[in-house]
Protein backbone atom coordinates (compact mmCIF):
# COMPACT_ATOMS: atom_id res chain seq x y z
CA UNK A 1 0.00 0.00 0.00
CA UNK A 2 2.72 2.41 1.07
CA UNK A 3 4.88 1.47 -1.88
CA UNK A 4 2.00 1.95 -4.22
CA UNK A 5 1.63 5.43 -2.83
CA UNK A 6 5.29 6.14 -3.40
CA UNK A 7 5.13 4.95 -6.96
CA UNK A 8 2.06 7.06 -7.46
CA UNK A 9 3.80 10.12 -6.04
CA UNK A 10 6.87 9.48 -8.13
CA UNK A 11 4.73 9.21 -11.22
CA UNK A 12 2.78 12.29 -10.27
CA UNK A 13 5.70 14.55 -9.57
CA UNK A 14 8.28 13.42 -12.05
CA UNK A 15 6.49 12.10 -15.07
CA UNK A 16 3.28 13.98 -14.83
CA UNK A 17 4.46 17.23 -13.40
CA UNK A 18 2.82 19.01 -16.31
CA UNK A 19 -0.55 17.62 -15.39
CA UNK A 20 -0.08 18.64 -11.77
CA UNK A 21 1.13 22.13 -12.55
CA UNK A 22 -1.65 22.79 -15.00
CA UNK A 23 -4.20 21.96 -12.33
CA UNK A 24 -2.39 24.19 -9.84
CA UNK A 25 -2.28 27.10 -12.26
CA UNK A 26 -5.89 26.57 -13.21
CA UNK A 27 -6.93 26.67 -9.58
CA UNK A 28 -4.84 29.78 -8.92
CA UNK A 29 -6.53 31.48 -11.84
CA UNK A 30 -10.00 30.30 -10.85
CA UNK A 31 -9.54 31.47 -7.30
CA UNK A 32 -8.35 34.86 -8.49
CA UNK A 33 -11.36 35.21 -10.77
CA UNK A 34 -13.73 34.45 -7.95
CA UNK A 35 -12.10 36.00 -4.90
CA UNK A 36 -10.03 38.98 -6.07
CA UNK A 37 -11.53 42.35 -5.49
CA UNK A 38 -9.77 44.33 -8.20
CA UNK A 39 -11.08 43.84 -11.72
CA UNK A 40 -7.64 43.95 -13.31
CA UNK A 41 -6.53 41.23 -10.93
CA UNK A 42 -9.57 39.20 -11.93
CA UNK A 43 -8.55 39.56 -15.55
CA UNK A 44 -4.97 38.51 -14.88
CA UNK A 45 -6.46 35.51 -13.10
CA UNK A 46 -8.63 34.85 -16.14
CA UNK A 47 -5.60 34.83 -18.41
CA UNK A 48 -3.77 32.45 -16.08
CA UNK A 49 -6.83 30.22 -16.08
CA UNK A 50 -6.90 30.13 -19.86
CA UNK A 51 -3.18 29.55 -20.29
CA UNK A 52 -3.43 26.67 -17.84
CA UNK A 53 -5.96 25.01 -20.11
CA UNK A 54 -3.72 25.68 -23.08
CA UNK A 55 -0.85 24.06 -21.20
CA UNK A 56 -3.01 21.00 -20.72
CA UNK A 57 -3.83 20.77 -24.41
CA UNK A 58 -0.22 21.22 -25.46
CA UNK A 59 0.74 18.46 -23.03
CA UNK A 60 -1.66 16.13 -24.84
CA UNK A 61 0.20 16.69 -28.08
CA UNK A 62 3.61 15.70 -26.70
CA UNK A 63 5.11 12.46 -27.93
CA UNK A 64 8.19 10.88 -26.45
CA UNK A 65 11.14 11.46 -28.77
CA UNK A 66 9.13 13.24 -31.42
CA UNK A 67 10.13 16.38 -33.26
CA UNK A 68 8.10 19.50 -33.98
CA UNK A 69 5.22 19.12 -36.44
CA UNK A 70 7.08 20.51 -39.43
CA UNK A 71 8.36 18.07 -42.03
CA UNK A 72 12.04 17.27 -41.91
CA UNK A 73 13.92 17.84 -45.19
CA UNK A 74 13.56 14.20 -46.19
CA UNK A 75 9.77 14.37 -45.93
CA UNK A 76 9.42 17.91 -47.23
CA UNK A 77 6.85 17.91 -50.06
CA UNK A 78 9.06 20.37 -51.91
CA UNK A 79 12.34 18.77 -50.93
CA UNK A 80 14.77 16.77 -53.06
CA UNK A 81 13.32 13.45 -51.99
CA UNK A 82 9.88 14.43 -53.22
CA UNK A 83 11.24 15.64 -56.55
CA UNK A 84 13.15 12.43 -56.99
CA UNK A 85 10.07 10.28 -56.48
CA UNK A 86 7.80 12.60 -58.43
CA UNK A 87 5.72 14.03 -55.65
CA UNK A 88 5.20 13.79 -51.91
CA UNK A 89 4.28 10.47 -50.40
CA UNK A 90 2.28 9.54 -47.34
CA UNK A 91 4.39 8.79 -44.29
CA UNK A 92 4.69 5.29 -42.85
CA UNK A 93 3.50 4.46 -39.36
CA UNK A 94 7.01 4.67 -37.87
CA UNK A 95 7.56 8.02 -39.45
CA UNK A 96 4.24 9.26 -38.10
CA UNK A 97 5.34 8.57 -34.52
CA UNK A 98 8.39 10.77 -35.02
CA UNK A 99 6.30 13.94 -35.29
CA UNK A 100 4.36 15.60 -32.49
CA UNK A 101 0.59 15.69 -32.79
CA UNK A 102 -0.30 18.95 -34.59
CA UNK A 103 -4.01 19.03 -33.77
CA UNK A 104 -3.79 20.32 -30.16
CA UNK A 105 -1.42 23.04 -31.32
CA UNK A 106 -3.92 24.24 -33.88
CA UNK A 107 -6.73 24.24 -31.36
CA UNK A 108 -4.66 26.23 -28.93
CA UNK A 109 -3.73 28.86 -31.49
CA UNK A 110 -7.44 29.53 -31.72
CA UNK A 111 -7.83 29.50 -27.95
CA UNK A 112 -5.02 32.03 -27.47
CA UNK A 113 -6.67 34.36 -29.94
CA UNK A 114 -10.01 34.02 -28.20
CA UNK A 115 -8.25 34.72 -24.91
CA UNK A 116 -6.70 37.96 -26.06
CA UNK A 117 -9.98 39.07 -27.63
CA UNK A 118 -11.79 38.48 -24.34
CA UNK A 119 -9.05 40.29 -22.43
CA UNK A 120 -9.24 43.34 -24.68
CA UNK A 121 -13.00 43.51 -24.39
CA UNK A 122 -12.94 43.12 -20.63
CA UNK A 123 -10.33 45.86 -20.29
CA UNK A 124 -12.56 48.18 -22.30
CA UNK A 125 -15.36 47.35 -19.89
CA UNK A 126 -13.08 48.19 -16.96
CA UNK A 127 -12.39 51.60 -18.45
CA UNK A 128 -16.06 52.26 -18.99
CA UNK A 129 -16.83 51.24 -15.40
CA UNK A 130 -14.05 53.51 -14.19
CA UNK A 131 -15.40 56.40 -16.24
CA UNK A 132 -18.84 55.88 -14.77
CA UNK A 133 -18.08 55.08 -11.16
CA UNK A 134 -14.47 56.03 -10.53
CA UNK A 135 -13.47 52.63 -9.26
CA UNK A 136 -12.58 49.16 -10.41
CA UNK A 137 -12.78 47.58 -6.98
CA UNK A 138 -15.68 45.23 -6.63
CA UNK A 139 -16.83 46.20 -3.13
CA UNK A 140 -16.69 49.93 -3.83
CA UNK A 141 -18.56 49.43 -7.10
CA UNK A 142 -21.25 47.40 -5.34
CA UNK A 143 -21.73 50.13 -2.77
CA UNK A 144 -22.04 52.76 -5.47
CA UNK A 145 -24.51 50.68 -7.47
CA UNK A 146 -26.69 50.18 -4.41
CA UNK A 147 -26.65 53.88 -3.74
CA UNK A 148 -27.59 54.60 -7.34
CA UNK A 149 -30.44 52.10 -7.18
CA UNK A 150 -31.78 53.61 -4.00
CA UNK A 151 -31.70 57.14 -5.36
CA UNK A 152 -33.28 56.19 -8.67
CA UNK A 153 -36.08 54.40 -6.85
CA UNK A 154 -37.03 57.17 -4.48
CA UNK A 155 -38.52 59.92 -6.69
CA UNK A 156 -40.58 57.43 -8.64
CA UNK A 157 -42.44 55.91 -5.72
CA UNK A 158 -45.89 57.26 -5.31
CA UNK A 159 -46.13 59.27 -2.10
CA UNK A 160 -49.50 57.78 -1.24
CA UNK A 161 -48.72 54.23 -2.23
CA UNK A 162 -45.45 53.99 -0.39
CA UNK A 163 -45.72 50.91 1.67
CA UNK A 164 -43.53 49.92 4.54
CA UNK A 165 -42.48 46.69 2.88
CA UNK A 166 -40.86 48.52 0.00
CA UNK A 167 -37.26 48.95 1.14
CA UNK A 168 -37.15 45.41 2.35
CA UNK A 169 -38.24 44.06 -1.00
CA UNK A 170 -35.79 46.16 -2.92
CA UNK A 171 -32.87 45.10 -0.83
CA UNK A 172 -33.91 41.51 -1.20
CA UNK A 173 -34.17 41.88 -4.92
CA UNK A 174 -30.74 43.34 -5.05
CA UNK A 175 -29.23 40.67 -2.93
CA UNK A 176 -30.30 38.12 -5.43
CA UNK A 177 -29.79 40.29 -8.46
CA UNK A 178 -26.57 42.21 -8.12
CA UNK A 179 -24.76 39.24 -6.74
CA UNK A 180 -21.63 38.97 -8.74
CA UNK A 181 -18.92 36.41 -9.03
CA UNK A 182 -17.80 37.19 -5.56
CA UNK A 183 -21.28 36.53 -4.33
CA UNK A 184 -19.96 34.98 -1.21
CA UNK A 185 -19.66 38.28 0.59
CA UNK A 186 -22.34 38.70 3.15
CA UNK A 187 -24.43 41.69 2.07
CA UNK A 188 -24.18 43.12 5.53
CA UNK A 189 -20.41 43.19 5.51
CA UNK A 190 -20.37 44.60 2.01
CA UNK A 191 -22.58 47.44 3.02
CA UNK A 192 -20.50 48.42 5.99
CA UNK A 193 -17.23 48.30 4.12
CA UNK A 194 -18.81 50.18 1.26
CA UNK A 195 -20.03 52.91 3.57
CA UNK A 196 -16.57 53.25 4.96
CA UNK A 197 -14.93 53.34 1.60
CA UNK A 198 -17.24 55.64 -0.29
CA UNK A 199 -15.57 58.59 1.36
CA UNK A 200 -12.16 57.57 0.18
CA UNK A 201 -12.53 58.21 -3.57
CA UNK A 202 -13.50 61.83 -2.96
CA UNK A 203 -10.29 62.42 -1.16
CA UNK A 204 -8.39 60.38 -3.69
CA UNK A 205 -9.79 62.29 -6.60
CA UNK A 206 -8.04 65.43 -5.51
CA UNK A 207 -4.85 63.59 -4.86
CA UNK A 208 -5.09 61.47 -7.95
CA UNK A 209 -3.63 63.98 -10.35
CA UNK A 210 -0.31 64.44 -8.61
CA UNK A 211 -0.13 60.80 -7.70
CA UNK A 212 -0.56 59.83 -11.30
CA UNK A 213 2.00 62.34 -12.43
CA UNK A 214 4.42 60.49 -10.26
CA UNK A 215 3.31 57.17 -11.64
CA UNK A 216 3.58 58.03 -15.27
CA UNK A 217 7.21 59.05 -15.36
Amino acid sequence: MFEDGLIFLNELFLERLNYVIYVVLLLIGLHAMIAKNNFIKKLIGMSIFQTAIILFYVSIGVKEGATIPIYLPEHDPHGEQAYATGGPEALTVEQVTSYANPLPHVLMLTAIVVGVATLGLALALCQKIYQGYGTVEEDELMAKLEKEDASSRKPKTHPAGKSSSKPEVSSRAKRSGTNSVGKTTAPQAKKSSGARKTKAPVKKATRKSDQKKGDSK
Binding site: D76, V93, V96, P102, G182
Partner: protein, 249 residues
Protein backbone atom coordinates in the same frame (compact mmCIF):
# COMPACT_ATOMS: atom_id res chain seq x y z
CA UNK B 1 -15.25 35.54 2.02
CA UNK B 2 -11.85 34.14 1.12
CA UNK B 3 -12.79 30.81 2.61
CA UNK B 4 -16.17 30.37 0.97
CA UNK B 5 -14.76 31.16 -2.44
CA UNK B 6 -12.28 28.35 -1.88
CA UNK B 7 -15.10 25.79 -1.95
CA UNK B 8 -15.65 25.75 -5.73
CA UNK B 9 -11.89 25.91 -6.26
CA UNK B 10 -11.31 22.89 -4.05
CA UNK B 11 -14.15 21.02 -5.71
CA UNK B 12 -12.82 21.66 -9.19
CA UNK B 13 -9.31 20.79 -8.04
CA UNK B 14 -10.51 17.51 -6.60
CA UNK B 15 -12.27 16.68 -9.84
CA UNK B 16 -9.25 17.48 -11.96
CA UNK B 17 -6.80 15.52 -9.80
CA UNK B 18 -9.20 12.61 -9.76
CA UNK B 19 -9.30 12.64 -13.55
CA UNK B 20 -5.56 13.00 -14.03
CA UNK B 21 -4.90 9.67 -12.30
CA UNK B 22 -6.42 8.08 -15.35
CA UNK B 23 -4.51 9.89 -18.10
CA UNK B 24 -2.43 7.92 -20.58
CA UNK B 25 1.33 7.70 -20.05
CA UNK B 26 3.18 10.95 -20.48
CA UNK B 27 4.23 11.37 -24.10
CA UNK B 28 3.02 7.91 -25.06
CA UNK B 29 2.87 7.66 -28.86
CA UNK B 30 0.18 4.97 -28.51
CA UNK B 31 -2.21 7.12 -26.49
CA UNK B 32 -5.60 7.60 -28.14
CA UNK B 33 -4.95 11.25 -28.90
CA UNK B 34 -1.63 10.62 -30.61
CA UNK B 35 -2.53 7.44 -32.45
CA UNK B 36 -6.02 8.39 -33.59
CA UNK B 37 -6.71 8.18 -37.31
CA UNK B 38 -7.29 11.93 -37.44
CA UNK B 39 -3.92 13.06 -36.16
CA UNK B 40 -2.14 10.26 -38.02
CA UNK B 41 -3.81 11.51 -41.14
CA UNK B 42 -2.62 15.03 -40.45
CA UNK B 43 0.96 13.88 -39.99
CA UNK B 44 1.06 11.33 -42.77
CA UNK B 45 -0.94 12.98 -45.49
CA UNK B 46 -0.55 16.75 -45.10
CA UNK B 47 2.24 16.70 -47.64
CA UNK B 48 0.15 14.68 -50.08
CA UNK B 49 -3.04 16.70 -49.60
CA UNK B 50 -1.66 20.20 -49.54
CA UNK B 51 2.12 20.14 -50.08
CA UNK B 52 2.58 22.39 -47.05
CA UNK B 53 5.58 21.38 -44.92
CA UNK B 54 4.25 22.98 -41.72
CA UNK B 55 1.46 20.70 -40.59
CA UNK B 56 0.13 23.22 -38.11
CA UNK B 57 -0.42 25.78 -40.84
CA UNK B 58 -2.10 23.23 -43.05
CA UNK B 59 -4.43 22.03 -40.31
CA UNK B 60 -5.13 25.59 -39.22
CA UNK B 61 -5.87 27.11 -42.58
CA UNK B 62 -7.20 24.18 -44.52
CA UNK B 63 -8.40 21.11 -42.63
CA UNK B 64 -9.90 23.23 -39.89
CA UNK B 65 -10.14 26.41 -41.92
CA UNK B 66 -13.65 27.09 -40.74
CA UNK B 67 -12.45 27.33 -37.15
CA UNK B 68 -9.81 29.80 -38.19
CA UNK B 69 -12.32 31.92 -40.04
CA UNK B 70 -14.42 32.12 -36.90
CA UNK B 71 -11.30 32.90 -34.89
CA UNK B 72 -10.67 35.85 -37.20
CA UNK B 73 -14.28 36.84 -36.71
CA UNK B 74 -13.72 36.73 -32.93
CA UNK B 75 -10.83 39.17 -33.28
CA UNK B 76 -13.01 41.39 -35.45
CA UNK B 77 -15.79 41.23 -32.86
CA UNK B 78 -13.38 42.24 -30.12
CA UNK B 79 -12.36 45.30 -32.10
CA UNK B 80 -15.95 46.27 -32.89
CA UNK B 81 -17.05 45.74 -29.32
CA UNK B 82 -14.22 47.80 -27.84
CA UNK B 83 -15.05 50.62 -30.22
CA UNK B 84 -18.74 50.30 -29.43
CA UNK B 85 -18.12 50.35 -25.69
CA UNK B 86 -15.58 53.13 -25.48
CA UNK B 87 -16.45 55.56 -28.27
CA UNK B 88 -18.62 58.34 -27.01
CA UNK B 89 -20.07 60.29 -29.88
CA UNK B 90 -22.38 62.55 -27.96
CA UNK B 91 -19.78 64.31 -25.83
CA UNK B 92 -16.73 65.54 -27.65
CA UNK B 93 -15.30 67.55 -24.76
CA UNK B 94 -11.80 66.27 -23.99
CA UNK B 95 -11.09 65.36 -20.41
CA UNK B 96 -7.65 66.37 -19.26
CA UNK B 97 -5.95 63.71 -17.22
CA UNK B 98 -3.59 64.32 -14.38
CA UNK B 99 -0.60 62.49 -15.66
CA UNK B 100 -0.55 63.90 -19.16
CA UNK B 101 2.73 65.57 -19.83
CA UNK B 102 3.70 67.39 -22.99
CA UNK B 103 7.37 66.70 -23.34
CA UNK B 104 9.14 66.12 -26.61
CA UNK B 105 9.60 62.43 -27.42
CA UNK B 106 13.01 61.22 -26.41
CA UNK B 107 15.53 61.52 -29.20
CA UNK B 108 17.30 58.22 -28.57
CA UNK B 109 14.05 56.32 -28.30
CA UNK B 110 12.53 57.80 -31.43
CA UNK B 111 15.63 57.26 -33.51
CA UNK B 112 15.92 53.67 -32.36
CA UNK B 113 12.29 53.11 -33.18
CA UNK B 114 12.81 54.74 -36.55
CA UNK B 115 15.42 52.09 -37.25
CA UNK B 116 13.56 49.17 -35.71
CA UNK B 117 10.06 49.63 -37.09
CA UNK B 118 10.85 48.84 -40.74
CA UNK B 119 12.72 45.75 -39.62
CA UNK B 120 9.76 44.60 -37.54
CA UNK B 121 7.42 45.19 -40.44
CA UNK B 122 9.56 43.28 -42.90
CA UNK B 123 9.92 40.50 -40.35
CA UNK B 124 6.15 40.39 -39.97
CA UNK B 125 5.77 39.96 -43.72
CA UNK B 126 8.34 37.20 -43.57
CA UNK B 127 6.51 35.48 -40.73
CA UNK B 128 3.24 35.72 -42.61
CA UNK B 129 4.53 34.50 -45.94
CA UNK B 130 6.88 31.90 -44.51
CA UNK B 131 4.25 30.37 -42.27
CA UNK B 132 3.93 27.44 -44.65
CA UNK B 133 7.47 26.31 -44.03
CA UNK B 134 8.36 27.55 -40.56
CA UNK B 135 6.49 28.51 -37.42
CA UNK B 136 4.35 31.53 -38.05
CA UNK B 137 1.45 32.51 -40.20
CA UNK B 138 -1.19 35.13 -40.55
CA UNK B 139 -1.93 35.55 -36.91
CA UNK B 140 1.63 35.93 -35.68
CA UNK B 141 2.55 38.15 -38.60
CA UNK B 142 -0.49 40.32 -38.00
CA UNK B 143 0.30 40.72 -34.34
CA UNK B 144 3.87 41.74 -35.15
CA UNK B 145 2.64 44.25 -37.69
CA UNK B 146 0.16 45.68 -35.20
CA UNK B 147 2.94 45.80 -32.61
CA UNK B 148 5.06 47.94 -34.91
CA UNK B 149 2.31 50.57 -34.99
CA UNK B 150 1.92 50.29 -31.23
CA UNK B 151 5.64 50.90 -30.93
CA UNK B 152 5.28 54.12 -32.91
CA UNK B 153 2.42 55.18 -30.65
CA UNK B 154 4.47 54.41 -27.56
CA UNK B 155 7.60 56.25 -28.58
CA UNK B 156 6.05 59.34 -30.17
CA UNK B 157 2.39 59.67 -29.33
CA UNK B 158 -0.91 58.19 -30.42
CA UNK B 159 -1.66 60.93 -32.94
CA UNK B 160 1.46 60.15 -34.88
CA UNK B 161 0.56 56.49 -35.12
CA UNK B 162 -3.00 57.37 -36.03
CA UNK B 163 -1.91 59.58 -38.91
CA UNK B 164 -0.17 56.51 -40.30
CA UNK B 165 -3.08 54.19 -39.62
CA UNK B 166 -6.34 56.05 -38.89
CA UNK B 167 -8.93 54.20 -36.88
CA UNK B 168 -11.47 54.18 -39.71
CA UNK B 169 -8.92 52.61 -41.99
CA UNK B 170 -8.30 50.06 -39.23
CA UNK B 171 -11.90 48.93 -39.35
CA UNK B 172 -11.92 48.88 -43.15
CA UNK B 173 -8.77 46.75 -43.22
CA UNK B 174 -10.21 44.43 -40.56
CA UNK B 175 -13.43 43.98 -42.51
CA UNK B 176 -11.48 43.45 -45.71
CA UNK B 177 -9.48 40.71 -44.04
CA UNK B 178 -12.63 38.79 -43.23
CA UNK B 179 -14.02 39.51 -46.68
CA UNK B 180 -10.86 38.08 -48.21
CA UNK B 181 -11.06 34.94 -46.10
CA UNK B 182 -14.76 34.32 -46.60
CA UNK B 183 -14.46 35.45 -50.21
CA UNK B 184 -11.96 32.70 -50.98
CA UNK B 185 -14.36 30.29 -49.35
CA UNK B 186 -17.30 31.53 -51.39
CA UNK B 187 -15.23 31.51 -54.55
CA UNK B 188 -14.44 27.85 -54.05
CA UNK B 189 -18.14 27.31 -53.39
CA UNK B 190 -19.01 29.08 -56.65
CA UNK B 191 -16.57 26.82 -58.48
CA UNK B 192 -18.48 23.76 -57.37
CA UNK B 193 -16.98 22.69 -54.07
CA UNK B 194 -17.99 23.13 -50.47
CA UNK B 195 -17.31 26.29 -48.53
CA UNK B 196 -13.53 26.69 -48.10
CA UNK B 197 -12.80 23.77 -50.44
CA UNK B 198 -9.70 25.43 -51.85
CA UNK B 199 -8.92 22.56 -54.19
CA UNK B 200 -11.64 23.81 -56.52
CA UNK B 201 -9.58 26.93 -57.12
CA UNK B 202 -7.46 24.92 -59.55
CA UNK B 203 -10.06 25.94 -62.11
CA UNK B 204 -8.92 29.56 -61.91
CA UNK B 205 -5.32 29.05 -60.85
CA UNK B 206 -2.75 27.52 -63.20
CA UNK B 207 -1.68 24.86 -60.69
CA UNK B 208 -2.58 21.39 -59.44
CA UNK B 209 -5.28 20.72 -56.83
CA UNK B 210 -2.71 20.40 -54.08
CA UNK B 211 -0.92 23.58 -55.01
CA UNK B 212 -4.26 25.37 -55.28
CA UNK B 213 -4.75 24.53 -51.61
CA UNK B 214 -1.23 25.76 -50.91
CA UNK B 215 -1.81 29.12 -52.54
CA UNK B 216 -5.30 29.62 -51.22
CA UNK B 217 -3.91 29.05 -47.74
CA UNK B 218 -1.53 31.92 -48.32
CA UNK B 219 -4.43 34.14 -49.37
CA UNK B 220 -6.37 33.13 -46.30
CA UNK B 221 -3.41 33.85 -44.04
CA UNK B 222 -3.11 37.30 -45.59
CA UNK B 223 -6.75 37.90 -44.72
CA UNK B 224 -6.10 36.83 -41.13
CA UNK B 225 -3.04 39.07 -41.06
CA UNK B 226 -5.06 42.09 -42.21
CA UNK B 227 -7.72 41.67 -39.57
CA UNK B 228 -5.31 40.97 -36.75
CA UNK B 229 -3.00 43.88 -37.61
CA UNK B 230 -5.85 46.34 -37.68
CA UNK B 231 -7.63 45.10 -34.60
CA UNK B 232 -4.53 44.82 -32.43
CA UNK B 233 -3.67 48.42 -33.16
CA UNK B 234 -7.28 49.55 -32.74
CA UNK B 235 -7.43 47.78 -29.37
CA UNK B 236 -4.34 49.59 -28.17
CA UNK B 237 -5.39 52.96 -29.58
CA UNK B 238 -8.77 52.80 -27.88
CA UNK B 239 -7.64 51.38 -24.59
CA UNK B 240 -4.73 53.76 -24.13
CA UNK B 241 -6.86 56.85 -24.74
CA UNK B 242 -10.21 55.78 -23.25
CA UNK B 243 -11.71 55.74 -26.71
CA UNK B 244 -10.94 59.40 -27.37
CA UNK B 245 -8.14 58.53 -29.79
CA UNK B 246 -5.96 61.40 -28.71
CA UNK B 247 -3.28 61.85 -26.11
CA UNK B 248 -2.61 58.20 -25.54
CA UNK B 249 -0.24 57.13 -22.84
Amino acid sequence: MKNTSLIPVVLVGFLLFYASTDFPEWGDPQSPASSSPVSSHFIAKTGVDTEVPNMVTAVLADYRGFDTMLETVVVFIAGMAVLAILRNFSRKKPVKRGHEVSVEPDLIVTNTVRLVVPVIQIFSFYVLAHGHVSPGGGFQGGVLMGASFILIALSWDLERALTRFPINRCMVVAALGILLYAGIGVLSMALGGEFLDYAELEKVLPVSREMARYHAMLGVEIGVGFTVTAIMFALYANLSSRGRLEGGL
